[in-house]
């Protein structure tokens, strides 16, 4: 099983949109996918129409006897199951501190034979939970908006990961780009020049993405030919090339 995490220090960059759509694309191309919503906001859970509830809350989930399987729900996206968020995830840092820094990785190991891809949708910031995600993940998918401070954010992440013994692969990609804007084009070009692992596919800032909140489904389910859908399709293909 490959463990991928949509992650960024910054919020509002398209992590959840990417997690849900890439999970759908992975399933469409033959993977059995577990989408794990680690953000107490529960947006990914909302997008797949599942109730944001964990029996016993986050403490039970990551406790010594906790198991992922009892919390997993099937979604309406063929091939995608979800581990829903719960507002108690706002205390996840505390619970992970009390158990083990490798707890997320251990929980995922238990389902490694059942899924081909685990897609973790992370809350923003660098926290104890983030570190647990870095430990568990094979790759971090880092949506990066083409703004002047984005390179700085990537550098911060890079510096932090360099302190780890076995950091995950970092695959940044340009998110929410409006190619009509000169600054977006220039910043995107600078990112491509400065980051060799920057994925070539750029996710556009399009209105169809807003409709995800209404349709409560990945883009491919209601707009199969939309630019955003095709972007996530191509993005997944690039990610798969790196991993398989």
């Amino acid at each position: 099983m490959k463990v991928l995490a949509t992650y960024s220090i910054k919020g509002g960059v398209g992590k959840t949109t990417a997690a849900v759509n890439l999970a759908g694309e992975a399933a469409r191309t033959g993977a059995r996918v577990l989408l794990w919503d680690l953000d107490p906001q529960g947006a990914a859970t909302f997008f797949v129409r599942v109730k944001p509830r964990l029996r016993g809350g986050a403490s039970r989930l990551v406790s010594k006897h906790g198991e992922l399987a009892e919390h997993v729900r099937a979604t309406d996206v063929p091939g995608v199951d979800v581990l829903p968020a719960d507002f108690s995830l706002r205390h996840l840092d505390i619970h992970l501190d009390a158990t083990s820094p490798t707890r997320l990785a251990d929980l995922l190991d238990d389902v490694a034979g059942v899924y081909d891809v685990a897609m973790l949708d992370c809350a923003p910031g660098i926290t104890v939970t983030s570190e647990a995600v870095f430990d568990a993940a094979d790759a971090l998918l880092v949506p990066t908006i083409p703004a002047t401070l984005s390179a700085r954010t990537l550098e911060q992440l890079d510096r932090f990961l360099a302190t780890l013994d076995d950091p995950p692969l970092v695959l940044p990609f340009v998110s929410m780009i409006d190619r009509r804007r000169t600054v977006h084009r220039h910043v995107a070009a600078d990112l491509a020049a400065g980051w060799p692992h920057l994925l070539a596919t750029q996710v556009p800032n399009v209105a169809t993405v807003e409709r995800m909140g209404v349709e409560r489904a990945p883009l491919a389910a209601f707009a199969p030919s939309a630019r955003g859908t095709i972007a996530f399709r191509d993005l997944w293909a690039e990610i798969a090339d790196h991993l398989w």
């Binding site: 191309t29 033959g30 599942v50 099937a74 090339d241």
Partner: protein
């Protein structure tokens, strides 16, 4: 993971069930055709998997209820025909080099019935199937499948209760699984193991006959697939069955009728000879990527003309083999052998040991084969010519085949322990042989290249041959130590444990 159960309708039609499924959304019926795919030897089924080509997708189901889907307009022949990714990796891990073949076609008229909660989320699914056919033959009745979605236990249970009021014979699996069982479709594929049940104290001639008849079945079962060139395993399995047969005949010279041996031994030797060229080329092509991995990108590209030449040679060799296997001589030989070995043999017509207890004859053959192997192995020095090292390899194979074909006579654990020691020696001897043969074939193939071939190609061939020579020499250098490991007290004890328990 979601679970699926299917049951057969007891009412004349599913109308009453549909009425009972209140609050569910009923989709219009549509005709669904699933082609179930597997290898000739049923690898997917044996691994607990089922692969269907349905509605322009490949659907891979496992025993735990997991389902993976991949869009595919046509069914692939090999796992490598699929795009890179986890689906292909999973299939390749099971299929290896075997081709996917259509096993059965199941067609149904299906209606999907869903229940959704207040969030519009599907919480249970019932599918009603009518006009179920397997391979065009109808299966009586209609069926209902309840899909219990992970995390939605109560809605699933409620659906199951409603369905149970109108159906019977609930079984795990979807309608395809139930239909295949109802139609009696054999799922395990065809794969004949060399070991069969044997009467240790019965006459040796009958034991040898049964072993050879089983090996003949293996030859028969793989013949058509070899002729049709479906995948490389057919020829591999056919050749292994021929080699085991030849070895068993040799071990049975004092047991089997001399007049039968007189025509079948040279006959199978000819069959072995005509199957060698295409198999050698198969192996080269199957191992191509691993072989050229030691070269840089430019050298790998320069070898492409050779790769293509080998592919053309392989196709030509297979065509020639097919002609042999269809031709009078070989066909007549194999038919005559089939009729001979599947009929009872009178011990009075056999060799001098035909009536002896089977286990006594085989134990004696094992001791003799082991002595021969040790004698030849002990004579090997660093200066010994390569042919004599190959003789040791052949001795080891003779012993191994004997233990495989007559496995039933020996206690399982003791036999495995001895074979493990023998295999270590065989692995080294095999590496030596393979490197030598591969290098010779590369040299030969390079000689066949057209005069317009770029020098870079010849240079790359040279690099490969040099590498293979190093591999061969390493194996040769390691022979003394590996043989000493085999020619040891531990091996002698393992042999004693195996033979002392023989026939018990």
């Amino acid at each position: 993971m979601s679970s699926v159960v299917t049951s057969r309708g007891v009412d004349a039609t599913p109308d009453a069930l549909l009425r009972d499924l209140q609050g569910y959304t009923i989709a219009p019926p549509r005709r669904v055709t699933s082609v179930v795919l597997d290898t000739f030897d049923g690898r997917l089924h044996r691994a607990g998997l089922r692969l269907d080509h349905v509605d322009g997708s490949l659907v891979l189901r496992d025993a735990e209820g997991g389902v993976a889907r991949l869009a595919a307009a046509v069914a692939p022949r090999f796992a490598t025909d699929l795009p890179r990714g986890p689906f292909r990796s999973r299939l390749a891990g099971v299929l290896d080099v075997r081709a996917l073949l259509p096993l059965a076609t199941v067609a149904t008229t299906s209606r999907r019935v869903e229940r959704r909660n207040a969030d519009g989320k599907v919480t249970s699914v019932v599918t009603i199937h009518d006009d179920v056919c397997v391979g065009g033959s109808p299966i009586a009745g209609w069926y209902a499948t309840v899909e219990e979605l992970t995390g939605y236990v109560k809605p699933g249970d409620r659906a199951r209760d409603v369905v149970a009021r109108h159906t019977t014979d609930e079984a795990p699996g979807d309608v395809v699984e139930v239909a295949l069982a109802a139609a009696g479709v054999e799922r395990g594929g065809q794969h004949i193991e060399p070991g069969i049940p044997l009467d240790a104290r019965g006459p040796a001639i009958e034991g040898f006959r049964l072993v050879l008849a089983n090996l003949d079945d293996a030859i028969e079962v793989n013949r058509e697939g070899t002729i049709e060139n479906i995948d490389s395993e057919f020829l591999h399995d056919l050749r292994v069955a021929v080699r085991r047969s030849r070895s068993t005949l040799r071990h049975g010279r004092a047991v089997l009728p001399a007049d039968v041996l007189a025509w079948i031994e040279p006959g199978l030797k000819r069959v072995g000879a005509v199957t060698s060229p295409p198999r050698d080329l198969d192996v080269q092509l199957l191992e191509w990527d691993a072989s050229v991995a030691i070269l840089d990108d430019a050298s790998r590209r320069a070898l492409e003309p050779l790769h293509q030449q080998l592919s053309r040679d392989r196709d030509a060799a297979y065509a020639e083999l097919a002609a042999h296997l269809r031709a009078g001589d070989v066909t007549n030989l194999l038919r005559r052998w089939h009729d001979t070995i599947h009929a009872p043999m009178d011990p009075a017509a056999g060799g001098r040991r035909a009536g002896d207890p089977l286990v006594d004859v085989v134990v004696k053959r094992v001791r003799k084969a082991q002595r021969r192997l040790l004698d030849h192995g002990r004579a090997i020095t660093p200066e010994t010519p390569a042919e004599l090292v190959h003789d040791v390899r052949k001795d080891a194979k003779q012993l191994r085949y004997l233990l495989e074909c007559f496995a039933d006579l020996f206690p399982g654990a003791a036999r495995k322990a001895f074979v493990k020691r023998l295999k270590r020696l065989q692995d080294l001897l095999g590496a030596h042989q393979d490197a030598e043969v591969h290098a010779a074939e590369l040299r030969h193939a390079a000689e066949e290249l057209p005069p317009t071939t770029e020098p870079a190609t010849y240079l790359a061939v040279g690099q490969l041959v040099e590498h293979l020579e190093r591999v061969r020499q390493d194996a040769r250098d390691g022979f003394a130590e590996r043989f000493a490991e085999y020619d040891s007290a531990a091996t002698r004890q393992a042999l004693r444990d195996m033979l002392d328990g023989a026939g018990t």
